[in-house]
Subunit: 352 residues, 2 copies
């Protein structure tokens, strides 16, 4: 009946029923050329024997794994978690599996992971680039072999793939204009590494908003870091100790913004009266901090869905050369950290 230590195969079922492995395989897959009766009995015996398909074998033969690979910097971020949920939601509806790997924002890890996922022959790859990454050769195998590759959120022009992202420039612009509308005239920016599109875009939006409104650009008010809690605190400390400190801060993420609020409050600044602060991402912490943080919201779940749909589309129709970019909307979520009395003239709706 059941072999010594090895798991049950279709050969075991075939032997039991005195049919060929071919028939068993077809019966289990509801192939039309197998009679209903045979199909029923095969399935019955399979269940009785505790048969579990070996998808390694199946994948090899079919050269198809029904798997989407995902590389993200870190899963422990609300934005990323929502993104993944979106991917899984779409994938599971089409019976695709999702393999999630973290690059931990390390280039080396990203390279290793990309190679590993290629070796696993995933049917598509969705990637949000690591902070460190500046070369993109590790994705070459996917491109050469026409395996659908989609960049999400953290994208790079050097990597010629379909993209799903937000308009970071517009979002940075909106955020800054919001601070201006709230009466800020000396606005600082907590930014990230400028080789990463999301931070470059946000900062450019910030600069362009200042320009548009005729506000001077002061380079001392632009601080770059990894935007961790710790660095957010240090940056804020630096800013508030300037001879001419800012009256508003636009942070490129929520962690640093929350730290800014904490540091400011702790040192006697009133938020938003003395210092208005706006973040980015709409993480849960933004509505826990006091005052609650005004921020920019991402449609993370939708980004995941769209990216996965793109992959699935290519499964059926093959990869198209022309790469397309989907740009999703962001929104200013106004909360207490920027809500303050302003002169009538400074009040105006921020445009789309």
């Amino acid at each position: 009946m059941k072999k010594n230590n090895k798991s049950i195969t279709i050969y075991d079922i075939a032997e039991e029923l005195k049919v060929s492995p071919t028939t068993v395989s077809r019966a289990l897959n509801d192939h039309q050329s197998i009679s209903e009766e045979t199909t029923r009995s095969v399935k019955k015996v399979a269940r009785k024997m505790g048969y579990r398909p070996n998808s390694v074998a199946s994948n090899l033969r079919k050269s198809k794994t029904n798997t989407i690979g995902v590389i993200v910097p870190l899963i422990n971020r609300p934005f990323i978690a929502s993104l993944i949920s979106g991917i899984e939601d779409t994938a599971s509806q089409s019976d695709y599996n999702v393999i999630i790997s973290q690059s931990y924002d390390s280039y080396k890890k990203e390279v290793a992971t990309a190679h590993s996922l290629y070796s696993s022959r995933v049917d598509g790859l969705i990637v949000s680039l690591a902070m460190e990454t500046r070369k993109y050769d590790h994705f070459q195998a996917f491109l050469e072999n026409k395996i659908p590759l989609i960049s999400v959120d953290r994208i790079a022009p050097e990597l010629e793939t379909d993209c799903v992202a937000i308009d970071n420039h517009a979002a940075g612009f909106k955020a800054t204009e919001h601070l201006i509308a709230m009466g800020c005239r000396r606005i600082a920016h907590l930014g990230g590494a400028q080789h990463r599109n999301i931070y470059r875009g946000r900062q450019q939006g910030y600069l362009d908003a200042l320009k548009k409104h005729g506000l001077p650009i002061d380079e001392r008010l632009v601080v770059h870091s990894k935007l961790s809690m710790e660095e957010g605190k240090e940056s804020t400390k630096y800013l508030l100790n300037l001879p001419n400190p800012p009256d508003g801060i636009f942070s490129a993420n929520d962690s640093a913004a929350v730290s800014a609020i904490q540091y400011a409050k702790h040192n006697g600044w009133h938020v938003p009266q003395d210092l208005a602060i706006i973040g980015f991402n709409d993480d849960p912490i933004s509505s826990i901090i006091e005052p609650q943080l005004t921020t920019i919201s991402h449609p993370a779940f939708d980004m995941g869905k769209i990216a996965a749909q793109q992959i699935l589309r290519y499964q059926d129709y093959g990869h198209v050369v022309q790469s397309q970019t989907t740009v999703l909307k962001t929104e200013v979520i106004v909360r207490a950290s920027t809500r303050r009395n302003v002169t009538a003239s400074a009040t105006h709706r921020n445009s789309a």
Copy 2:
């Protein structure tokens, strides 16, 4: 040179070099029986041709995937993310891959995922059970085929595996004693489903601490929910509107505890003077809420490492029948949400 559309295989390399595929395979794996010269030239040609190993084929032949499967309720939780980091950290050191899947706390998803991971022939499985799960047959295939299976944090006695967990009873006991030490005499508990060990243990610890200190047990003060933010708020609303409301709350997680603080503050209660609150997990939000939340810390990263080490150990020596449980220490992290003046007699160190 390179075939039409298909990816390069060892056969292509073999043909190019006029050697056998066997030699190529061995050379690529640094097999001793291949001359250094041949090895070098094989690797050189492999690189030049852009060869990428097909691990699907390799896995099939070797009946080994070098992969650890992980099933968790939801990756978007600080505790889980740390757990996974611990697993990946250990796994990657031994060249193992990690496949992460989410059950979304759904029994159905957990079953599907377990089957899928078994079909993928992972070399081991680490699972933290879904909230809904009450049957464990979906892990039978792993047990029968001696594939190492480790339960982490959310474990079940019905599932006879190695376990890595904390002593939830002791932690709940400590948490409650801490509130008592802070002068609370009417302590409520925000608990979770009692069929899940972590919530049952914490609640039992709570009850036993009350008993030990001669405090009456009032069933109206024990509220069960899924401990989401929303439910935490509802539960707190109910508690604070009781004719005889509590003066302390022990919440089985931080989300609900944070909601409790928010609701209490919003309704004119002073935390911790009127109401002391202690949470569980030491999530980042616990140090952002004001007052900062006293909570119980988990060694999540270590739990992941230990679980992965256990899996790796079995790879070399085979699965042992005797299942062992590793119990890790927890700690009370005292912050402002419980720090209040108490009478001298009530002050005492909480024991280990």
